[in-house]
C-alpha cells in the first residue's frame, strides 16, 4: 500500500514540477494544482494511513490512535485544500491581468528572445 501511495505522490509531484518549469502560465497553474495534490497526499500520509478505521468518535468516549484515524494531518490538509483553491484563484487572476497588460501568456511577461 505504501508503495502505491508513494508512487502516486511521486508522479503527481513530478508532473507538477515539470509543468512548473514550463513557460506558459496555464501550464504553471496546472502544475501547481498537481503539486498541491502531491503535497496534500504527502502530509496526509504522515498520519497512520489505514483502511477501515473509524474517523468519528463514539459519544462520550476518549479516542485512541489504535481504534481511530489520525485526525491531525487531516485537519492540516483540509485547510490546505481550501487555501489552495484561494491561491489558485489569485494566481489565475494575476495571470489573466498580466496577459491583458503584456499581451503574452509567458511567465516572464514577454516572449523569450530567440
Amino acid at each position: 500500500m505504501e508503495i502505491l501511495i508513494a508512487l502516486a505522490i511521486g508522479v503527481l509531484g513530478g508532473s507538477g514540477v515539470w509543468l512548473l518549469l514550463r513557460p506558459r502560465t496555464f501550464q504553471v497553474i496546472v502544475g501547481l494544482s498537481l503539486l498541491s495534490y502531491a503535497v496534500n497526499l504527502f502530509i496526509f500520509s504522515m498520519g497512520k494511513m489505514r483502511t477501515g478505521v473509524a474517523p468519528i468518535l463514539q459519544k462520550g468516549e476518549a479516542g485512541s490512535l489504535i481504534f481511530y484515524d489520525d485526525p491531525l494531518p487531516q485537519a492540516l490538509v483540509l485547510t490546505a485544500i481550501v487555501i489552495g483553491f484561494a491561491t489558485t484563484a489569485l494566481f489565475l487572476v494575476v495571470m489573466l491581468a498580466s496577459r491583458g497588460l503584456t499581451g503574452t501568456d509567458h511567465v516572464d511577461g514577454r516572449e523569450r528572445d530567440q
Binding site: 502505491l4 508522479v11 503527481l12 495534490y37 468519528i56 484515524d69 489573466l96
Partner: protein, 977 residues
C-alpha cells in the same frame, strides 16, 4: 509607587503628545504649538519632582518585566547625570517649541513637525533614562529615526532629503555597531542591567573582548556625535528647519554620543585604547571643525562646524582618562547646549527676517535688529570663551587639563596645550566672523526682505538662554554648581575630584592661554577678512577633501555599481531559471543528508496493496501525466485530466478513512474546475505549429526540455522515496493522541477533525479564513480593473456562430439559438437549488459530530449558486437572486472574530470555546458549543469568498460584450453599487 508611574510618564508623555499632535489637522498650528509646549514644559517640571531624591545622590529605578525569559527588563533609571541631561532635553525642548511656533511658516504642516519633535524628545529622554543596555540601543536607534524625519521635514527639497538620508545612514550604522558592542558588554558582564554593568568595570577592561566592544561602542558614539572621520553628516543636516538644528545640534542628538561615552566612562575608560581612540578623534575634530568653521559662508554652516569642533572638545576631554577632565566635559556639554541653541535660534531669526544666511550678503544688522544683535553677541562671546560667560569657565577647565593631565606619551604635553590654544583661537575667529559679518559694517543691500526685529516671543527663548549663559558665567557656583556636582557625582561616585567653579583663579597659565587665543583669534580674523569676503566657499587646503563625497561614492558603489554587477552576474528576472534553481537546490538539500547519514535502519515490509486502489491510481497517474502532457496545446483536455487526478486523490481520502477531506476535496475540485474554465477563455489561442512539428524543435528547446524532464523526474523520484521512507517508519507519538482523547470530553464533538479546526486550533483557522477573505478581495479588486488582451476581447467563435444562426433561421429571436440550451438540466438545477442549500445547512450543523463543517458547507452552498449561473446564465440569476458576497465575507469574519472576543467577556483567552451539556427536561443531555458559531463564520466566509471569486470572473464575459465602458453596476449581484 507614584514615583514609578511618574518615571514612566517622563518617557511616555512625549510619545503620547507626538501621537496627539500627529492626529491634529494639518493647519492646526496654534493647537499643535500649545500641545507641544505643554508637553515639553510638563516634562521639564516633572523632572523637578525627582530632584530632591536625585540631588541627595539617590538613584530612582523602575523595572517592568519585558522579556523575563531572556532576563531583559525595561528599566527606567534616573540618577543625577541622567537628570541633568533629561532637564536639558526637555528644557531646551520647550524653548525650541516656543521658537518654532514663530519660526515655522503657516504653509508648513506644523502638527507633523511638532509630532516628530515630541517623538524625538521622547526617544532622547528614553535614551538618557535607560537602565538597560538593550533598551538604550533601542532608544538610540529611535533618536536616529526621528532625527531623520526631522531633518527631512522639508522633504520637497533635495537637500533635506539627502541630508536626512546621510544622517540616518551614518548614525544608524553607528547604532548597529553600538548595539553589537553593547551585546558584547552584556556578554562579558552577564547582564544588560546598567547598574550591574557599571559595577563590573575591571571585569570589562580586562576581558579579551574589551577592545572589540570598545571599538564598536565608540563607532556608535563617534558617528552620533559627528566626530572625525564621521563628521560630514552634520553640516548636511542643516537643511532641517532651524528649530530642529537648534535642538538636535545643541542639546540632544549629537550629545547622545557624548552622553553614552560619559555614561560608560567609569567602566570603559582608563585604558590606552580609550585614550588613543577617543582622544585623537576628539583632538582632530576639535581643530578641524574650528578651522573649517572659519571659512563657512552660511551662518548655519558656521555653527554646524563649530558644533563639530565643540563636540570634539568634549570628546577629547572624555578621552583624557582624568576625573577633572570628566567634570570639564559635563560642564562644557551643558554650556555648549545653552550658547549653541541660542546662536542657532539667532541665525534662524536672521534667516527669517532677512531671507538669507549668507554672511557675504549680510551686514550691519545691528541697526535694524539691535536687540537680537546684542543677544547674539553675548552668545557668540560665550562660544569664543570670553570671560564672565559660561563658555569661558569650561574652556579654562579644558586648558588646565591640557596642561596637567597625565598622558601616555610625553610629547602630548606639548601638543595638547598648543592644540587647545590654536582651536580656541579659531573659535574666537569664527565667533567674530559670525557677529561682525552679520551685525556690523555698512547697511545691507539687496536682501530678500527688509530686516526688522522678530516677534517678542520668538526672541524670548534666546533671551532665556543668553541669560543663563551670563548667570553661569558670572556666578557659576550659585547657579550651575549644584546640578553639575550632582551630575558629576552620579558618574564618578567616590572618585569625584575637588574642583573649583570660581571665575577668577588668579593670573595663571590657562588664563594666559585664553588671552593668547583671544588675541590670536582677533588677529586671524582681521588678517582673513578680505579673503573671507571675496573668497570661495570652504576652507583652503581642505576644500577638495570632502568626506561627504567619499561617502556618496562609497554608497553609489555599494548600492548601485556593485549591486548591479552582482545582479547581472548572478541574478535573473526570468522565472524559469529561478524555479529551476529552486528545485535543483531542494533536490541537493534533500540528497545531502541522505548521502551523509544513509537511509537508516532497514525498512519493514510494506503492507499489501489493494487491487481496486491500484486500478484507481492507474487512472490517476495517467491523468496526472496526461495533464502535464497536454497543458500547452489542449487546455480543456488538460483541465479535465487535472480534475481526474483530483478525483482520484479524493477517492484515496475516502479509502483511508478521511471523509472530511474527501468531501472538501470533491467540492474544491468542482469550484477549481469552474474557475479555470472561466479563466481559459481569456488565454491566447495556441495551435500546434505544423511547420515546426514536421522538423521538430530546435536543439536549444530540446536541451531545455531534457534538463527540465530530468529535474522533474528527480523531484518525483525524490518525493516518492521520501514519502515511502516516512510511511515505513514507526510513527512517533504525536499530539494526535491528545486531540483524540479530548475531542469529545473537552471540545464536545465526535468529529475530531472539525473540533481541531474550530476549537483546538481555532486561531489557525481564523488566520486561514482571513487569508481566504483577503485573496477573494484581491481577486475582486484586480478584476475590477481587468483589461483583456486585444485578441481576447472579441466574442468567442462559438458564440459568434450562435448569433449567426439566430439570423439565419426564420422567425428566430436574438439569442434564440441558445434560449432553450440545456433546458431539462437547467430546470433540474434550478429545482436543486433549495435542496443543495438544505444539504449545506445540514453539513454545517452536523459538522461538529459528523463529517461536514463550515468549510464543506460553504463550498456546497457556493456550488449551488454556481450551478444556477451555469444553467441559467448570469443575467437571469442576477435578476432573480442577489447574493452579497462581500457581506457574507464580512459577516463571517465578524462571527469568527466575535466568538473569539466573546471569550474575553468571560475572562478567558481569545477564542476559548464554550461547551457544556445542557440538561433539557425531555430531551436530556444536549451538547452546546460556541464553536458552532465560529463554524458558522467559517461557512459564511468561505461561501462569500468562493462566490465572489467565481462571479467576479464570470462577469468579465458580460463586460466584454459591451463596447462601451462597463456601467457602474459592475457586479450588480454583489450589491456593491
Amino acid at each position: 509607587m507614584p514615583d514609578d508611574a511618574l518615571l514612566l510618564a517622563a518617557i511616555g508623555i512625549p510619545f503620547a503628545g507626538a501621537v496627539a499632535a500627529g492626529l491634529l489637522p494639518t493647519n492646526a498650528r496654534n493647537a499643535a504649538a500649545w500641545l507641544a509646549s505643554g508637553v515639553t514644559l510638563g516634562c521639564f517640571l516633572l523632572l523637578w519632582v525627582f530632584y530632591p531624591t536625585v540631588s541627595a545622590g539617590g538613584v530612582l529605578r523602575h523595572e517592568i518585566a519585558w522579556m523575563p525569559s531572556l532576563g531583559l527588563n525595561f528599566v527606567v533609571r534616573l540618577d543625577g547625570f541622567a537628570w541633568a541631561f533629561a532637564a536639558l532635553v526637555s528644557g531646551i525642548g520647550f524653548l525650541v517649541v516656543l521658537y518654532a511656533r514663530y519660526y515655522m511658516s503657516s504653509e508648513d504642516p506644523v502638527p507633523r513637525f511638532f509630532a516628530f519633535l515630541l517623538a524625538f524628545m521622547g526617544s532622547m529622554t528614553g535614551l538618557v533614562l535607560s537602565g538597560n543596555l538593550i533598551q538604550l540601543a533601542f532608544f538610540w536607534e529611535l533618536t536616529s529615526l526621528f532625527s531623520f524625519l526631522l531633518i527631512g521635514y522639508w522633504h520637497h527639497t533635495a537637500a533635506a532629503r539627502e541630508g536626512a538620508r546621510m544622517a540616518l545612514t551614518i548614525t544608524a550604522t553607528g547604532g548597529l555597531a553600538l548595539f553589537t558592542g553593547l551585546l558584547i558588554v552584556g556578554h562579558i558582564v552577564g547582564s544588560y542591567d546598567l547598574d550591574i554593568v557599571l559595577d563590573a568595570g575591571d571585569r570589562i577592561r580586562e576581558h579579551a573582548l574589551y577592545l572589540p566592544a570598545l571599538i564598536l561602542i565608540l563607532l556608535g558614539a563617534l558617528t552620533k556625535s559627528a566626530q572625525f572621520p564621521f563628521h560630514f553628516w552634520l553640516p548636511h543636516a542643516m537643511a532641517a528647519p532651524t528649530p530642529v538644528s537648534a535642538y538636535l545640534h545643541s542639546a540632544t542628538l549629537v550629545k547622545a554620543g557624548v552622553f553614552l561615552m560619559a555614561r560608560l566612562w567609569p567602566v570603559m575608560a582608563g585604558t590606552d585604547a580609550w585614550f588613543w581612540i577617543v582622544g585623537s578623534a576628539g583632538l582632530i575634530t576639535l581643530i578641524l571643525g574650528a578651522y573649517i568653521a572659519i571659512f563657512q559662508q552660511d551662518l548655519k554652516g558656521l555653527l554646524a562646524y563649530s558644533t563639530i569642533s565643540h563636540l570634539g572638545l568634549i570628546t577629547l576631554l572624555l578621552g583624557l582618562n582624568s576625573e577633572h577632565a570628566m567634570v570639564a566635559a559635563i560642564f562644557h556639554t551643558l554650556n555648549h547646549a545653552t550658547f549653541k541653541a541660542s546662536l542657532f535660534m539667532a541665525a534662524g531669526i536672521i534667516d527669517h527676517e532677512t531671507g538669507t544666511r549668507d554672511i557675504r550678503r549680510l551686514s550691519g544688522l545691528n541697526r535694524s535688529m539691535p536687540f537680537t544683535g546684542r543677544l547674539a553677541i553675548v552668545a557668540a562671546a560665550a562660544m569664543a570663551g570670553v570671560p564672565l560667560l559660561n563658555g569661558f569657565l569650561s574652556k579654562e577647565m579644558f586648558f588646565a587639563e591640557a596642561l596637567e593631565v597625565s598622558v601616555p606619551l610625553p610629547s602630548m604635553h606639548i601638543v595638547l596645550p598648543l592644540a587647545a590654544t590654536l582651536a580656541s583661537a579659531f573659535s574666537v575667529a569664527y565667533s567674530l566672523r559670525f557677529i561682525h559679518g552679520a551685525f556690523f559694517g555698512p547697511d545691507p543691500t539687496d536682501l530678500p526682505r527688509t530686516p526688522h526685529e522678530p516677534p517678542g516671543w520668538m526672541r524670548f527663548p534666546v533671551e532665556i538662554l543668553v541669560l543663563i549663559c551670563m548667570a553661569v558665567g558670572m556666578l557659576p557656583a550659585a547657579t550651575i554648581g549644584p546640578y553639575l556636582d550632582m551630575a558629576v557625582r552620579s558618574v564618578l561616585g567616590a572618585e569625584t575630584p575637588e574642583y573649583s567653579l570660581a571665575v577668577w583663579h588668579g593670573f595663571n597659565q590657562p588664563l594666559l592661554m585664553s588671552l593668547l587665543a583671544l588675541a590670536g583669534g582677533v588677529g586671524l580674523y582681521l588678517a582673513l577678512q578680505r579673503y573671507l569676503q571675496t573668497g570661495p566657499e570652504g576652507p583652503p587646503l581642505l576644500r577638495n577633501l570632502k568626506g561627504q563625497r567619499i561617502f556618496e561614492r562609497a554608497l553609489v558603489f555599494l548600492s548601485w555599481r556593485l549591486a548591479r554587477t552582482l545582479e547581472r552576474l548572478l541574478g535573473t528576472r526570468r522565472l524559469q531559471p529561478q524555479l529551476r534553481l529552486l528545485v535543483g537546490v531542494t533536490l541537493v538539500a534533500a540528497l545531502f543528508p541522505l548521502i551523509l547519514r544513509g537511509i537508516g535502519p532497514a525498512l519493514p515490509r510494506p503492507t499489501p496493496v489493494d487491487p481496486p486502489l491500484v486500478l484507481v491510481w492507474v487512472v490517476g497517474i495517467a491523468c496526472a501525466i496526461g495533464a502535464a502532457w497536454q497543458a500547452k496545446f489542449h487546455r480543456l483536455a488538460s483541465l479535465i485530466m487535472l480534475g481526474g487526478a483530483g478525483l482520484v486523490t479524493c477517492v484515496t481520502f475516502v479509502w483511508f478513512s478521511a471523509p472530511d477531506l474527501a468531501l472538501t476535496q470533491l467540492l474544491v475540485e468542482v469550484v477549481t474546475t469552474v474557475l479555470l474554465l472561466l479563466g481559459v477563455r481569456w488565454l491566447p489561442k495556441r495551435l500546434v505549429d505544423l511547420r515546426l512539428d514536421a522538423t521538430g524543435p530546435g536543439i536549444a528547446p530540446r536541451v531545455r526540455r531534457g534538463r527540465d524532464f530530468l529535474l522533474a523526474l528527480g523531484a518525483g523520484c525524490g518525493l516518492s522515496a521520501l514519502a515511502y521512507a516516512v510511511m515505513m517508519r514507526p510513527f512517533p507519538d504525536s499530539i494526535s493522541r491528545h486531540f483524540l482523547e479530548r475531542s469529545y470530553n473537552e471540545g464536545g464533538g465526535t468529529n475530531v477533525v472539525n473540533v481541531i479546526l474550530v476549537d483546538f486550533r481555532g486561531f489557525d483557522t481564523m488566520g486561514e479564513i482571513t487569508v481566504v477573505a483577503v485573496v477573494a478581495l484581491t481577486v475582486f479588486a484586480l478584476l475590477r480593473r481587468f483589461r483583456p488582451a486585444p485578441d481576447s476581447v472579441d466574442v468567442p467563435e462559438q458564440q459568434r456562430d450562435q448569433t449567426r444562426l439566430d439570423g439565419v433561421q426564420p422567425g428566430s429571436q436574438p439569442d434564440g439559438a441558445v434560449a432553450d440550451w440545456l433546458l431539462v438540466p437547467a430546470t433540474i438545477m434550478r429545482m436543486l437549488f433549495p435542496v443543495i442549500g438544505v444539504v449545506a445547512v445540514y453539513l454545517l450543523l452536523r459538522g461538529h459530530d459528523m463529517p461536514g463543517g463550515g468549510f464543506v458547507a460553504g463550498l456546497t452552498m457556493s456550488v449551488a449558486i454556481i450551478l444556477q449561473y451555469m444553467a441559467s446564465g448570469t443575467r437571469w440569476v442576477e435578476d432573480h437572486l442577489r447574493v452579497h458576497p462581500l457581506r457574507w465575507i464580512g459577516m463571517g469574519l465578524l462571527l469568527a472574530g466575535g466568538t473569539g472576543v466573546a471569550a474575553w467577556v468571560f475572562e478567558r483567552p481569545f477564542l476559548t470555546s464554550y461547551f457544556a451539556y445542557e440538561e433539557l427536561p425531555v430531551i436530556g443531555k444536549v451538547p452546546t458549543a460556541s464553536a458552532l458559531i465560529f463554524d458558522l463564520g467559517v461557512f459564511s466566509l468561505v461561501f462569500g469568498a468562493t462566490v465572489l471569486i467565481l462571479i467576479a470572473l464570470a462577469h468579465q464575459s458580460i463586460r466584454s460584450h459591451r463596447a462601451a465602458p462597463p456601467p457602474a453596476r459592475s457586479l450588480g449581484l454583489a450589491g456593491e453599487d
